[in-house]
Amino acid sequence: MTFTRRAVLAAAAAAIVAIPALGGSVAHAADTIKIGDINSYKRLPAHTIPYKKGVELALKEINAAGGVMGKQLELVSRDDGGKPGEAVKIAEELFAKDKVALISGSLFSHVGLALTAFAGQNKKLYLAAEPLADALVWAKGNRYTFRLRPSTYMQAAMLAEQAAKNPAKRWATIAPNYAYGKDAVAAFKKVLKQKRPDVEFVAEQWPGLFKIDAGAEVQALAKANPDAIYNVTFGGDLAKFVREGKTRGLFKDKLVVGLLTGEPEYIDPLKDEAPEGWLVTGYPWQFIKTPEHKKFLDAYQGAYGEHPRIGSIVGYNTMLAIAAMLEKAGSTETEKMVDAMKGLSFDSPTGPITFREIDHQSTMGAYVGRTAVKDGQGIMVDWTYEDGANYLPPDDEVRKMRPTS
């Protein structure tokens, strides 16, 4: 007993002493430009691991091509644990200790917003990669924050435009019970009502995020007897919702619209049980035949032996945007980088993208189409690429939302 206790003590002591030695070693190459990368690599790895792979692929290509301004790009990657307070601490550390030029990344909206506030208050550049919250560039936007991925509003607007073409009048919605779900439903309602004043929303369900009681929720939706259903659930919730809905016949003869449902992160796990005929946003990576995308796809599959997810393409585009911005700015000074970001245009595998001057939102678009099942796998058919630029509110509305400072 004494022996084991002493052994454990020694091991614990050794571990504690060893930690700083292991963690503190960051290579300091003088001729690199450092980029701080913050993401929830452990909270939602299904999304963030593909993101990281996309980032690293782009980085490799950029550096192989000689880097930017004659310097190599170096990524300092950190996990925020899905906690906003932790993310801000890491941001401080990246700037103070690792001397990064800017930070990018994040997936969860609240973490992205925490970093938005950090960037605004500390006058540091933050490129939000994946968080979808509308507020990030609008109500809470600031000079130092930019966002790449099409926002909740944009994707909901794309779907609403298509949905308006359907005769369905009675709509029901189901969305996770937090800010993203609320925004997604509000945006969809707003745009759909504009185009179709005659529709009515007859039921709303708000399951807790990743805690859906799918059977009861499906029943509640069925009870309202809608013509169409707008779904915002994703991940494990989506799988449960689809399975219960199918078994209980909820989707029969109804139009179902699914935000993000066509993204490989969410439709792949469903395999042959993927919903069919849903109107969704997503990423039909197999079928995009543009040469730019083909090049990306080949490189990605060559590097990782698997297909890209939406996170991969966002990660890849994020690095392209940063490289293009640095090239344009010719400096790693924050104000110059911010000025370069404004109105920055660059070509990506998904087409040309511009960071709007007015609100710092990129015009990266999304793929809208119908779901289908082929060879035991959910896919997207009849899809089109919708340019994000066409799904943003009028400029004066945007100006009103953004704080004047």
Binding site: I16, P84, E93, E273
Partner: protein, 623 residues
Amino acid sequence: MGFYIVQVLTGLSSAAALFLVASGLSIIFGVTRVVNLAHGSFYMLGAYIAYSLIDLFGRGGLGFWGGIVLAAVAVGMIGAIVEVLILRRVYQAPELFQLVATFGVILVIQDIALLVWGAEDLVGHRAPGLTGAVDIMGTPLPAYDLALIAISPVVLAGLWLLFNRTRWGTLVRAATQDREMVGALGVNQAWLFTGTFFLGSMLAGLGGAVQLPKGGADLLMDFNVIAAAFVVVVVGGMGSIFGAFLAAVLIAELNAFGILVFPEITLVLMFLVMAVVLIFRPWGLLGSPEAPGQKGQQGPPEQPLRPAPVRVQMAGVAVVGFLALLPVVAGPFALVLTVDILIFALFAVSLHFIMGPGGMVSFGHAAYFGGGAYGAALLIHYANSNMESAMALGPVLAAVLALVFGWFCVRLSGVYLAMLTLAFAQVAWSVVFQWNDVTGGDDGLLYIVKSAWADTAQSWVPFYLLTAVLCLSAMLFLRRVLFSPFGYAMRACRDSELRSHAIGINVLEQRWLAFTLSGVAAGVAGSLYVFSKGSAFPDYMSIPLSFDALIMVLLGGVKTLLGPIVGAVTFTWIQDEISRFEYWRFFLGLAIILLVIAFPQGIAGFGRRYLGPWFGIRAEEAQ
């Protein structure tokens, strides 16, 4: 009509997995008194292992059901291994200390699951022969729901037979009622506990496995189920299997029908149920009162408070001197990290105040941290307040929350008290989370701007010094209170409620004020925190933060005054260092487990024992 019948049946089927998990948790708690946070991890492992086994065996009836049963047994064995390797070494530690070890286990299992099964969600196999739906008066009900509805009573009956018709079961029941007695009967307690862990973990694994056809396996299952499982156990009454069944059904049915009327009630419903049940039935629906003398008093009794000897005071002065010199010698990030550490140290000290000397364990202390955070943030947002007044008035919201919640909580004791604090914290959290118009919901309140003199964009030094002064003063104030008549009376209420009444102490009032004082101190920490981060989010009120504080206190040592500080420093610092690794959760979990085994009295408790004499802390006589 058909609709309502189907909704009832749907609720019953949702109750099944919940009941299985909760019954296992209840059995483990009833016998070993371990608050097993890792129970959710066993549930998750049940789902993953069953998924892999069904893949291996094929999807026929035998493959499917065989896979489920084998997965449950495998998880039971994992539970038993955890008990033998880790928990068995720390049963003699203060109450709840084992909880820290199980927290470490969660982290380790999370990373192992990620490594083995990958990041992508796995959608569960369907049960052969039960893929379709049954028509009930015109409304379809998935056939597998019927199987789930049947499973709970079968397991319940099996457990009843086990507990009433076998010698082992009788011993388990006896141990649930009186642990000492079983020891006295000459039963090998170690193996009884191991067996209990096997059974309890097996039930969790079974719960995870049988829900496969309704969902699948993913990496968030563990956290998502654990709170619900605890709620069911507490509502049903700790240690009562029938209670767990009743509570699972009650909560599932209330949810099934609640969402028809209030679709947004999903986040808070079960916590509301728990709060109401505990207020009217302080030991749950079918539970019985806890035996007295189990409030944090496991192990040797706490030693009398003695004023710090000279050498300790000198060490304290040295620490203050070090903190004062830090801006000169260290870079800006050291200040950022130290600000975090100081804030969490105050938060942990505030929890320790009621948990150690006060004998009231809180599982929901983040409510008051977040109360202070939102108090300050709301003032900045809506009252155009400056930093100084927001910081001063922010904790008032924490005080109000503590006064209201505390009034109910101090009437309970032990784990029930802890769970009521958790319930209230969740209610507060869900208000902040859902009241978008005022609190911004999950999008939070941004731009909690510091005053110009403390602007950290320029320099962290002024804000760091402000934090250091405020946190140290608050901690010293709480320490002073512990040495005051109030602090003595609070300890008196913990040591002997009977004697306290008999010398005229109003125990409830004393506890209520202690609870509030602690809430205010947590609120001070919270209001500092929002300014240090520049934004406020519901996370600052959430369960994980409450448990972080709990782990800091326990890891540091609940029976020493320095414990929470040592725990906060260790936990925050290790986490900061380790989180640079890819599989950092595995290493953090491992570090926590090793610390727990090495220091069963907490790190400070260990330090006191071995360094105490040098510092002039006199060794008290032991019985």
